[in-house]
């Protein structure tokens, strides 16, 4: 894969992850998550075969779909003050700087390309930021999926067992399912009349 395409994928990862952090519109959020998984797929393709890498892409899109369906039924979007959005953007920028600064160190420990290390640190960092900033199940699930995507990117260079790929895909789907379950089985949701 050309170096420029990898760099482009990492830039897309950073943009989508930052967008997920500050965005409050669930429709755009699900689209950003899908694009993020596409970028992860492109990077994973450097280590895995097309068939194996496609599992990651399809699983991610399915997880996004599950989250999207339950989100539309459950949580109302709320617009935070501009100061909060600026703070989140600054925090995202810090994660970007951290990735740029620490990726060479990580690449010296692990037999993984520098560009993949950068992408992985960005995703893990942004995912952890989401986990620290939001307390609703769907946002927590998006944070966990983002952080796990970062780890999976890193791990793709170390392990390519079908069982691991399958189980990690199962965990991604399971996280989305658990978040959807927690939201839709909430008493507040169960009390609402069903839509025809």
């Amino acid at each position: 894969m050309p170096e420029s395409l990898s760099l482009g994928a990492v830039i897309v990862l950073a943009l989508t992850a930052a967008f997920l952090l500050i965005n409050q519109n669930w429709r755009w959020g699900v689209i950003a998550l899908s694009v993020q998984y596409l970028a992860v797929f492109l990077l994973v393709l450097q280590e895995w075969s097309l068939g194996l890498a496609a599992i990651k892409l399809i699983t991610g899109w399915m997880a996004g779909t599950i989250i999207g369906i339950s989100h539309s039924a459950a949580e109302q979007d709320e617009r935070p003050p501009y100061s909060a959005q600026i703070f989140r953007l600054l925090a995202a920028g810090m994660v970007g700087l951290l990735a740029w600064a620490t990726a060479p160190l990580l690449a010296s420990f692990l037999p993984v390309k520098l560009i993949i290390c950068q992408g992985a640190i960005i995703l893990v960092g942004m995912g952890l930021l989401q986990l620290g900033m939001y307390t609703r199940p769907l946002r927590v699930a998006i944070g966990l999926l983002t952080a796990l995507s970062g780890f999976e990117l890193l791990y793709a260079g170390l392990e390519s067992s079908i069982l691991v790929v399958g189980l990690l895909a199962g965990i991604d789907l399971g996280l989305a399912w658990v978040a959807a379950y927690l939201v839709t089985m909430n008493p507040a949701m169960l009390d609402q009349p069903r839509q025809p």
Binding site: A147, F151, S161, G170, I171, G174, V178, M185, P187, L190
Partner: protein
């Protein structure tokens, strides 16, 4: 027929079949108990990889099953662990009706146990992380059945357990690299740090234990008690398995120092924090943290005695957690919450549940003549011999726990004008189980030598440990 098929695949299928009985909870519980009892008896009496005669025919149970290029292995020496897991599950299912758990508990507890056993059986062992995460995901509907609001404790539980997975997987990769190149000190340290973080996330080791008291407050105590007992038992034995598997790891002195330090900090901080709690469920959570701390202390001794003490803890832990969570469940059938303002004077209304809770909590606090006391005594003697400061810190934690239990007892027994005990508030089944649990802890505390040797066989699967 292979052992993983019997103790992993069949229970999962059984859990699915039990789902069909969900309209009739007593039958569902009976079905679950029958299946668990069969699995327990098989674990006790069916040797693996040795020909056995049964009903005139000879059978050979194979130890291994291949799955997608990886193996699930249950050897003959693992039967003690299987007996422990299915024994504890049977014990827990006996009280499910009395605790009025949700029907999801029956199926999901069986499936979760099977996944945890799979985590212990999978080879290479680093794949255990993925199976444990599956078990965590399965536990969510059990903890939060439909109609119950989720809380922050549950989300934190999910976050911390999921964050533990990458650390363990990367540690597994690093451990493999260390085996290839044992002289690489940098890689050795990396593997230890990664594994340390992974186990700390999973076992709710300091400072990652904030979710435990919270989740105890938010969920049904019987379900969360089950979850943490099974989950911590499996993860502790996985840790022991890592020590057994990697010689360089068990020969690293600093590992035992860190383990001892973590155990001491857990006991001291949880004990002190417990003293300030105003909720019996949160107190239970802190009691669990103290128990995990003592397990780490026992392992940190790196001796035959330490291993024996570690193994002995599981019997009393199972009874204590069971008694405590059943008592809380019975209380919650009468009161809105287990906060001190709601349970004031409850001894008069629910005498058996109150006494059960008192005995269980005093046992965890290490009161003499109760189940945990003989283990605590031996452990504290050993720790004080190695490091007096650690011994004092453990003592401070134990005193904090004891103080919190006495506070709770004073609230429970607070006079509210009632002088006669109202036995009709507890069902016959609840009274029987609570009395049996209380007597069990007393008998183990008085005659530990009769019960603890049964646990020692748990370490037969780890021949390289002292």
């Amino acid at each position: 027929m292979s052992a993983p098929l019997i103790w992993i695949v069949f229970p999962v299928l059984g859990a699915v079949l039990l789902w069909a009985l969900r309209k009739n909870l007593p039958r569902m519980i009976l079905g679950g108990m029958a299946l668990t009892l069969v699995l327990l008896l098989c674990a006790l009496f069916m040797p693996i990889e040795q020909p056995t005669r049964f009903l005139g025919r000879t059978y050979l149970i194979q130890s291994t099953i291949e799955f997608l290029g990886r193996r699930l292995v249950i050897e003959n020496t693992d039967r003690s662990f299987l007996a422990l897991m299915y024994g504890m599950l049977f014990f827990w299912l006996i009280g499910a009706q009395a605790a009025r758990t949700h029907f999801l508990f029956i199926s999901f507890s069986l499936a979760m146990t099977a996944f945890l056993i799979a985590a212990r059986a999978v080879q290479p062992s680093l794949y255990a992380a993925l199976l444990i995460e599956m078990a965590v995901l399965l536990s969510i509907p059990m903890l939060m059945p439909p109609g119950r609001p989720y809380g922050q404790g549950l989300l934190r539980f999910l976050i911390f357990q999921t964050l533990g997975v990458p650390f363990i997987l990367l540690a597994g990769w690093a451990l493999g690299q260390v085996e290839i190149n044992p002289t690489n000190a940098q890689l050795t340290h990396l593997a230890m740090i990664l594994m340390g973080f992974g186990l700390a996330f999973w076992l709710a080791i300091f400072p990652f234990y904030t979710w435990l008291p919270q989740i105890m407050e938010e969920t049904h105590p019987y379900t969360s008690g089950f979850l943490f007992l099974f989950y911590s038992s499996t993860v502790l034995f996985l840790g022991v398995g890592f020590l057994n598997q990697f010689p360089w790891l068990r020969n690293t002195p600093v590992l035992y120092e860190v383990m001892q330090w973590m155990g001491v900090v857990m006991i001291a901080t949880a004990g002190v924090w417990a003293a300030f709690q105003n909720d019996l469920s949160r107190l239970f959570g802190y009691g669990m943290i103290v128990e995990t701390g003592f397990s780490l202390l026992a392992l940190s001794l790196n001796s035959h005695l330490g291993d024996q003490l570690f193994a002995s803890m599981f019997l009393t832990r199972c009874i204590t957690y069971g008694l405590w969570s059943l008592s809380l469940s019975v209380m919650l059938q009468k009161v809105r919450s287990t906060r001190f303002e709601d349970i004031s004077g409850l001894l008069n209304v629910l005498p058996y549940a109150s006494i059960g809770l008192a005995v269980a909590s005093l046992s965890i606090a290490g009161l003499p003549l109760l189940g945990q006391f003989p283990i605590r005594l031996a452990l504290m003697e050993e720790i004080s011999r190695q490091a007096q400061g650690s011994g004092v810190a453990v003592l401070v934690g134990s005193v904090g726990m004891l103080f919190s239990v006495f506070r709770a007892l004073s609230v429970l027994s607070r006079g509210s004008g009632m002088v006669t005990w109202q036995r009709q508030n507890e069902t016959r089944m609840q009274i029987t189980l609570l009395v049996l649990g209380t007597l069990g802890l007393l008998i183990i505390g008085i005659l530990p030598q009769l019960f603890f040797p049964f646990s020692f066989s748990l370490f037969s699967a780890y021949p390289h440990l002292p």
